[in-house]
C-alpha cells in the first residue's frame, strides 16, 4: 500500500542536513538531496512555521544524524520526486512510498520502516459504508499513489469511475463537494487527517496492506541506502523510532492540531502567520522574473535579429527556434529540462537554473517573434534608402531600422514581461519555492484555500501593477 495523501503544496526547503559518509579519514560531510511529497501527513507536511515535519522527515533527519551525513529536503510532490529520482536529479526519496515489485524494477528500497493499508473515506453525511455502495459513482485518488492503483484494480468489480488529482487537497475537496463519492488513500494518512479535522470519515478496514520504504535509483547511492538501513536499525533499538511514530499517530497528535486550528484565520491573521514564507515566495518569484526577463529578452532579440538577416540559413534557424519553443507547452518544457535532460545525460540541473532556461527559451521565442515582426513592420523603403547610400546591412539596421522597430515593439515587450511574471508560477511544478508553490504549501497545512489563494492572487496583481508602471515609465523615456 501506498500512501500519500493529497493535500497540497510544495517547495523546497532545503538544507537540513548533516553529513554522512562513513568516510574513513576526514569528516567529509556528504549532503544528499532527498525528495519528498508536498504534503502527506503524518509522514510529510509543513508545520505552521512552514518547516517540513512528519514521520518521514524525523526519520530521515535522525538517521542522517546517527550516520553522519547531511540531507537537503526537497518537497517536490510525490510524482515529481520519483521522476527526479529516476532522472538522477536527487539522491533518494522518502515520501510514504510503498514497496512494490513494479517500483523495484527501477528503484532500490531500504528495509521497510512502516506498514500501512488502503482505506476508503467519504463525506461525513455519506451513506456509503462499503465498496459495494460505490456502484455508478466516482472515486477520487492522487496520481501515482498506491491508493490509485488499488482503486483501478477494483473499479470494474465494483462498477465505479476513477478521477485523479495531483494534490491531496484536491482529492479531499472533490469528496467534500460531492463530485466524488469517496477517495482511497493510505490508512495512516487518512486516519491522521480525520483526527486533525479533515472533514471526512474512514469507512473501511485497511486493504492491500503494504510497507513503506526509502528509495534510491536502482544501482545508485548504495552507500546511502546502507546508511539508511543501519540508522533505522539503531533508531528501532534505542526507542527513538517508537517515539517518532507515537508522536504522529498517538493521541497527542490530535491535540497538537487543534491548537493550530485555533490560529487566527482572518486574512490579516493568515498574512501575519505566513509572513516570512510569503515574503520568501515573493522574492523567489521576483528573482525568477527578473533573471528570466533579462535572459529571455537577450535571447529573443538575438533570435529575432537572426530572423531578419539576409541569409536563408539564419532565417531558417530563427524560424525553427521560434516554432519549437513557442509550440511547446511551458509545463512540458520545464519537465523536459528538469527531469528529461538529466535522465539522459546524468548531469543534475538545479531547479532554479532549469526554471530560468525554461522561461528563457519559451518567453524568448515569443520575444523573437515580435522582434522579427517589429523589424519587418518598418517600411522596407527605410532599409533601401540606407543601403543605397552605401551603409552596410549592420549599420543600416542599427542606425535606422532598429530604432524605429524598437518603438513598435515596446508594447509587446511590456506585455511579455507581464506574461513572464505570471509564467513563473508554472515553475512550481519542478519544486521551485516561488509564490504559487508557497501558496500550495500554506494551504496544505491550513486548508484555507479561498483566503490563501485570494492573498496570493492580490500579491500577483500588485507585482504586475508595479511592473506595468515601471514599463510605462521606461516607455515614456524612450519615446521622448
Amino acid at each position: 500500500m501506498k500512501i500519500r495523501l493529497k493535500l497540497f503544496f510544495a517547495l523546497f526547503f532545503a538544507s537540513l542536513g548533516l553529513f554522512a559518509w562513513q568516510a574513513p579519514t576526514v569528516h567529509a560531510e556528504t549532503t544528499y538531496t532527498i525528495g519528498t511529497d508536498v504534503t502527506f501527513p503524518p509522514f510529510v507536511y509543513a508545520n505552521s512555521n512552514n518547516k517540513y515535519v512528519g514521520i518521514d522527515m524525523e526519520l530521515i533527519r535522525s538517521i542522517a544524524k546517527e550516520e553522519g551525513f547531511k540531507v537537503d529536503i526537497k518537497p517536490l510532490g510525490f510524482n515529481a520526486a520519483v521522476q527526479s529520482l529516476s532522472s538522477g536529479q536527487i539522491d533518494g526519496v522518502i515520501a510514504g512510498m510503498t514497496i512494490t515489485d513494479e517500483r523495484k524494477q527501477t528503484l532500490d528500497f531500504s528495509t521497510p520502516y512502516y506498514e500501512s493499508g488502503i482505506v476508503m473515506a467519504v463525506a461525513p453525511s455519506s451513506k456509503i459504508t462499503s465498496l459495494k455502495g460505490l456502484k455508478g459513482k466516482t472515486v477520487a485518488v492522487k496520481t501515482g499513489t498506491q491508493g490509485a492503483s488499488y482503486a483501478n484494480s477494483i473499479k470494474d468489480k465494483y462498477g465505479f469511475k476513477v478521477v485523479t488529482f495531483d494534490d491531496s487537497d484536491n482529492v479531499y475537496n472533490d469528496v467534500k463537494t460531492g463530485n466524488s463519492a469517496a477517495c482511497f488513500d493510505d490508512s495512516a494518512v487518512l486516519n491522521y487527517g480525520v483526527k486533525t479535522g479533515l472533514g471526512l470519515k474512514v469507512v473501511t478496514k485497511p486493504a492491500d496492506v503494504g510497507q513503506y520504504g526509502f528509495a534510491v535509483k536502482k544501482g545508485q547511492n548504495q552507500k546511502l541506502l546502507k546508511m539508511f538501513n543501519a540508522g533505522l536499525a539503531k533508531l528501532k533499538k534505542n526507542g527513538k523510532y517508537d517515539q517518532i511514530i507515537k508522536k504522529y499517530t498517538g493521541k497527542t497528535a490530535t491535540s497538537k492540531t487543534s491548537k493550530s486550528n485555533s490560529e487566527d484565520r482572518t486574512f490579516l491573521g493568515l498574512l501575519r502567520q505566513n509572513q516570512q514564507a510569503i515574503l520568501n515566495g515573493i522574492l523567489e518569484t521576483l528573482k525568477l522574473t527578473i533573471v528570466s526577463i533579462i535572459c529571455a529578452t537577450i535571447f529573443g532579440i538575438l533570435v529575432g535579429l537572426l530572423g531578419v538577416l539576409p541569409n536563408k540559413f539564419a532565417r531558417g534557424a530563427s524560424t525553427t527556434i521560434i516554432y519549437i519553443f513557442r509550440g511547446l507547452p511551458l509545463l512540458v518544457l520545464a519537465l523536459f529540462i528538469y527531469n528529461g535532460i538529466p535522465s539522459l545525460t546524468g548531469t543534475k540541473i538545479p531547479a532554479f537554473v532549469a526554471g530560468i532556461i525554461t522561461l528563457t527559451l519559451n518567453e524568448g521565442a515569443y520575444t523573437a517573434a515580435f522582434v522579427k515582426g517589429g523589424i519587418d513592420a518598418v517600411d522596407s523603403g527605410q532599409m533601401e534608402a540606407a543601403r543605397s547610400l552605401g551603409l552596410p546591412f549592420g549599420k543600416a539596421m542599427r542606425k535606422v531600422i532598429l530604432p524605429q522597430g524598437i518603438k513598435i515593439m515596446i508594447p509587446s515587450f511590456i506585455n511579455q514581461f507581464i506574461i513572464t511574471l505570471k509564467d513563473t508560477s508554472i515553475l512550481s511544478i519542478i519544486g521551485i519555492l516561488e509564490l504559487t508553490q508557497t501558496g500550495k504549501i500554506i494551504i496544505a497545512r491550513n486548508l484555507e484555500g479561498f483566503k490563501v489563494w485570494a492573498i496570493i492572487a492580490v500579491i500577483y496583481l500588485l507585482i504586475i501593477t508595479l511592473l506595468t508602471l515601471l514599463s510605462k515609465w521606461v516607455e515614456r523615456r524612450i519615446n521622448d
Binding site: Q382, E384, A385, A386, R387, K399
Partner: protein, 246 residues
C-alpha cells in the same frame, strides 16, 4: 563612348514567372541626363533599381564606371557610395532629424567628421532651399520638402551619378515645381542622371536623351525633340498621345 558611365548589356530580370526586363542594353555617358518613360509595368523602375543592385539581375551585366555591379563579389556598399538614389516615397529616416538624415552616411562611413558633415548638411539644405529645416523632424515636412531633403541626403555622399525613381509622383501638383527646380540645377551642374518620370516637360527641357520602354524592352530612344515630336514606333505614339493629352 570612351567615358561611359553606365554600361548594361543583355540585362534580364524576373520575379518568379514574371519576366520584367527582357535583354536590355542601356548605356549612359558621363554628364548625360537620361529620362526613362513608358507605361507602368514596363520595367523602368526595375531597370533603375538594377543600377545599384537594389534588385539583383537574373542575368546580364551591369557596370558603372567600369565596376561590375552585377557580380556578387563586387563590394556593393562601396559602389553605392558613388550612386545617389532618390525614391518616389522619399524614404527619409523617420527616427532622425533632417540634419541627421543628411549627415548619417558620410559620418558612419568615415567620409566626414561630425562637424564637417553638419556644415555640409547646412550647405546642401541651402541649395535645396530648406536651410531652416535642419533641426526639423521628417514628419513635419511637406512631400515636396521631404523630397528635396532626400536629394540633399543623396548628394551628401558626393555621388557622381544620381538615380531618380519617379521623384515627383507622390507629390501634390504645387510641390512638383520645387523638386524639378532642384533637379534642373543638378543637371546644369553636369551631374550624370538617370530619371524615371512622367514629367514630360522636364524630359523635353533637360534630357539629353529620352528612352521609351514597354513590356521590358527599350522600344525607342533618342533626343527629346525626336522622340516627342517624331516618334517612330506605334507604341511610343500611343503612349505619348495619352500622357500629353492629359
Amino acid at each position: 563612348m570612351a567615358n561611359l558611365k553606365v554600361d548594361i548589356s543583355d540585362l534580364n530580370k524576373s520575379f518568379g514567372d514574371n519576366h520584367v526586363l527582357k535583354g536590355i542594353d542601356f548605356k549612359v555617358a558621363n554628364n548625360e541626363v537620361v529620362v526613362l518613360i513608358g507605361p507602368s509595368g514596363s520595367g523602368k523602375s526595375t531597370l533603375l533599381r538594377c543600377l545599384n543592385r537594389l534588385e539583383a539581375p537574373t542575368s546580364g551585366k551591369v557596370s558603372i564606371d567600369g565596376k561590375d555591379i552585377s557580380n556578387t563579389k563586387t563590394n556593393i556598399d562601396q559602389a553605392r557610395e558613388n550612386i545617389g538614389m532618390v525614391f518616389q516615397h522619399f524614404n527619409l529616416f523617420n527616427n532622425l532629424t533632417v540634419g541627421q538624415n543628411i549627415e548619417l552616411a558620410p559620418v558612419e562611413l568615415g567620409k566626414l567628421s561630425k562637424e564637417d558633415a553638419a556644415a555640409q548638411a547646412k550647405k546642401l539644405l541651402a541649395t535645396v532651399g530648406l536651410e531652416d529645416k535642419y533641426d526639423a523632424k521628417p514628419q513635419s515636412l511637406s512631400g515636396g520638402q521631404k523630397q528635396r531633403v532626400a536629394i540633399a541626403r543623396a548628394l551628401a555622399m558626393n555621388p557622381d551619378i544620381m538615380l531618380f525613381d519617379e521623384p515627383t509622383s507622390a507629390l501634390d501638383p504645387e510641390m512638383v515645381g520645387d523638386v524639378l527646380e532642384v533637379m534642373k540645377k543638378l543637371a546644369k551642374e553636369g551631374m550624370t542622371m538617370v530619371v524615371v518620370t512622367h514629367e514630360m516637360g522636364f524630359a523635353k527641357e533637360m534630357a539629353d536623351r529620352v528612352v521609351f520602354m514597354a513590356d521590358g524592352v527599350v522600344v525607342e530612344e533618342g533626343k527629346p525633340e525626336d522622340v516627342f515630336d517624331h516618334p517612330q514606333n506605334e507604341r511610343t505614339k500611343a503612349f505619348l498621345d495619352k500622357v500629353i493629352n492629359v
